[in-house]
């Protein structure tokens, strides 16, 4: 009885979790300029409109540029940090690790305004570069967490075996460690890219004249006539995030089965 009640609760909960977001794709195909019930009919017009929105295309390219640079740099930083955390003991390890993970729990507005003040105060201009810096700061904790779980799992004796067989530390890392943690690296790249693609608060403060996609969406929300287009764009964005995360999870899981490593994204 209790078991059934909990199952019911879990199902209701999942519906509540997903339902609001699912209205976006639903309305994106609705043949009406007003985003509301009842649904009028099926149309692809809003998606077609996006094809001619050149400012949106520019925003898309900006987001891509910020996204992939963020993903690569924060994953590189994450690899080093995760390696340090899982293999070595060093001075003030706990505090340093906690400090690197700090942006995870800091209110984003604090991160955003402090970066903003420093960048402007030093006389630099706001640009996509400053957005990227902010995004790296925010995503390093995530890439580190993902990579720690893949570094933690694999057997240290494999590395020792390689060293015993005459490989140096660098070649051992390249030929033994790297292939083993490659799935972690891929999933870190995908996750950090997704976070950067969707991130709004920090980008809002640090962006200059070139908007990223969420900033573009924010700007469009003011125009009621543009609402269906925004809904269509939002649906595309949701779908791509969903797809990227599924790939990340798939890669990680397949690797887990191969190496016997347990663990989750967080």
């Amino acid at each position: 009885m209790r078991f059934k009640f909990l199952t019911l609760y879990a199902v209701a909960f999942m519906i509540f979790l997903y339902l609001p977001v699912l209205f976006l794709p639903l309305f994106s195909f609705n043949d009406s300029t007003i985003v509301a019930f009842p649904l009028k009919g099926f149309t692809l017009q809003w998606y077609e409109n996006l094809l001619t929105e050149t400012t949106m295309h520019q925003a898309f390219f900006n987001s891509m540029q910020v996204g992939w640079s963020t993903a690569i740099i924060s994953t590189l930083l994450g690899i080093c940090a995760a390696r340090a955390v899982t293999r070595y003991n060093f001075f003030a390890k706990k505090s340093i690790t906690a400090f690197v993970m700090l942006p995870l729990v800091l209110p984003e507005i604090i991160v955003a305004i402090s970066l903003l003040v420093v960048i402007l105060w030093l006389g630099f201009n706001l640009s996509l570069f400053s957005v990227m810096l902010g995004h790296i700061l925010m995503t390093v904790p995530f890439s580190t967490a993902v990579l720690i779980s893949s570094f933690e799992g694999f057997d240290k004796s494999l590395e020792e075996a390689s060293m015993d067989l005459g490989e140096g530390p660098f070649m051992t890392f390249l030929r033994v460690t790297l292939p083993m943690v490659a799935p972690g690296i891929i999933s870190s790249l995908l996750i950090t890219f997704t976070i950067s693609l969707d991130e709004f608060i920090v980008a809002f403060f640090l962006t200059g004249t070139e908007p990223t996609l969420p900033i573009y969406i924010w700007g469009q929300l003011r125009f009621i006539a543009k609402l269906p287009n925004v809904v269509a764009l939002g649906s595309i964005l949701l779908f791509s995030s969903f797809l990227l995360l599924c790939i990340a999870e798939f890669v990680r899981r397949r690797a887990q089965r191969r190496t016997g490593i347990e663990g989750s994204i967080l």
């Binding site: 609001p20 977001v21 060093f90 700090l102 305004i113 003040v117 420093v118």
Partner: protein
């Protein structure tokens, strides 16, 4: 001489402690440059003053006096605390049963459940708020549906642009984040404790209250902290669904750094918020630990 010092140097770099530190340093230095120093600058700024475009670098407490004396800031800060507190409470209450369900009643595909729970958290935050605006709005899903089935004759205006809408939207947004720590702590519980409790005559409810709940408190606490801290600094949700009565302290900070262009005052507000959040979170953790200690 040089050979031996080079040898010494290479030995130094081969020591585990040094290696670990070197590997950690890129991420650490990055966070130091882009987080610690900027926050230091913000704190410094909060003691300066600004007239038009000139920054006066004489140290003064006048910004803090203004924050303290003008009621608007107190109102916003209190509201932010209340909203964040409510969101935290609501989130944990609703997240706990689900975490419990996945930890104890899902036997296969646990990872899939956790993945499905976390996915919404990774998708665009702005879009999730936007979705709520579509649902709760004047011409939104709720109003148009209710009118369609004839329950109401004109749109309800009280569901959007107020504090309740902010609480609802934020709770929905942070729910996945709260489930994870609770789930982890429930998952860690040694199942033999539960068997022992049953063998010693505890019914399911007593067993839950005396064994499961106390052992999962660290997770609950972690969930509360990770929800409370970010929500208090949120400004997008209040701005999009909060109306004027739902604005929070972060909106004021944003105004000071944007339209009002008074950075030192904005900095003082940011520092006040940070200090308040830290004090509340610390007090809360100590209180919970004390409570936990008494219960045992």
């Amino acid at each position: 001489m040089s050979a031996s010092s080079a040898g010494g140097l290479s030995l130094f770099f081969r020591r585990d402690g040094v290696r670990g530190f070197m590997l950690m340093s890129p991420a650490f230095i990055f966070a130091l440059l882009l987080l610690a120093i900027p926050i230091g600058v913000i704190i410094t700024f909060s003691f300066w003053t600004q007239s038009y475009l000139d920054i006066d670098t004489t140290l003064t407490l006048s910004n803090y006096r203004e924050v303290w004396e003008k009621p608007i800031y107190g109102v916003l800060l209190t509201r932010s605390l209340i909203v964040a507190g409510t969101v935290t409470f609501v989130t944990v209450i609703f997240a706990y049963p689900l975490a419990y369900y996945v930890a104890f009643h899902v036997h296969q595909r646990k990872a899939l459940w956790i993945f499905l729970i976390t996915i919404p958290f990774w998708t665009s935050y702005l879009l999730r708020i936007f979705a709520w605006k579509l649902i709760l709005g004047y011409n939104g899903v709720v109003n148009t549906s209710l009118m369609e089935i004839g329950l109401i004759t004109e749109p309800l205006s009280f569901i959007l642009y107020n504090v309740n809408a902010v609480v609802l939207t934020l709770s929905h947004a942070w729910m996945p984040f709260a489930i994870l720590p609770i789930y982890v702590s429930l998952q860690k519980i040694d199942r033999s404790y539960l068997e022992a409790a049953t063998d010693l005559g505890d019914g399911p409810i007593r067993r839950f209250l005396r064994v499961t709940l106390p052992l999962s408190l660290p997770g609950v606490l972690a969930a509360m902290v990770v929800v409370f801290i970010p929500t208090i600094g949120d400004y997008v949700t209040p701005k999009l669904v909060g109306g004027t009565d739902g604005l929070m302290i972060a909106n004021m900070i944003q105004v000071q750094f944007g339209k009002a262009n008074n950075w030192p005052l904005g900095a003082a507000l940011a520092v006040t918020t940070m200090v308040t959040v830290t004090l509340v979170a610390t007090a809360f953790v100590f209180f919970a630990k004390w409570l936990g200690g008494r219960a045992r």
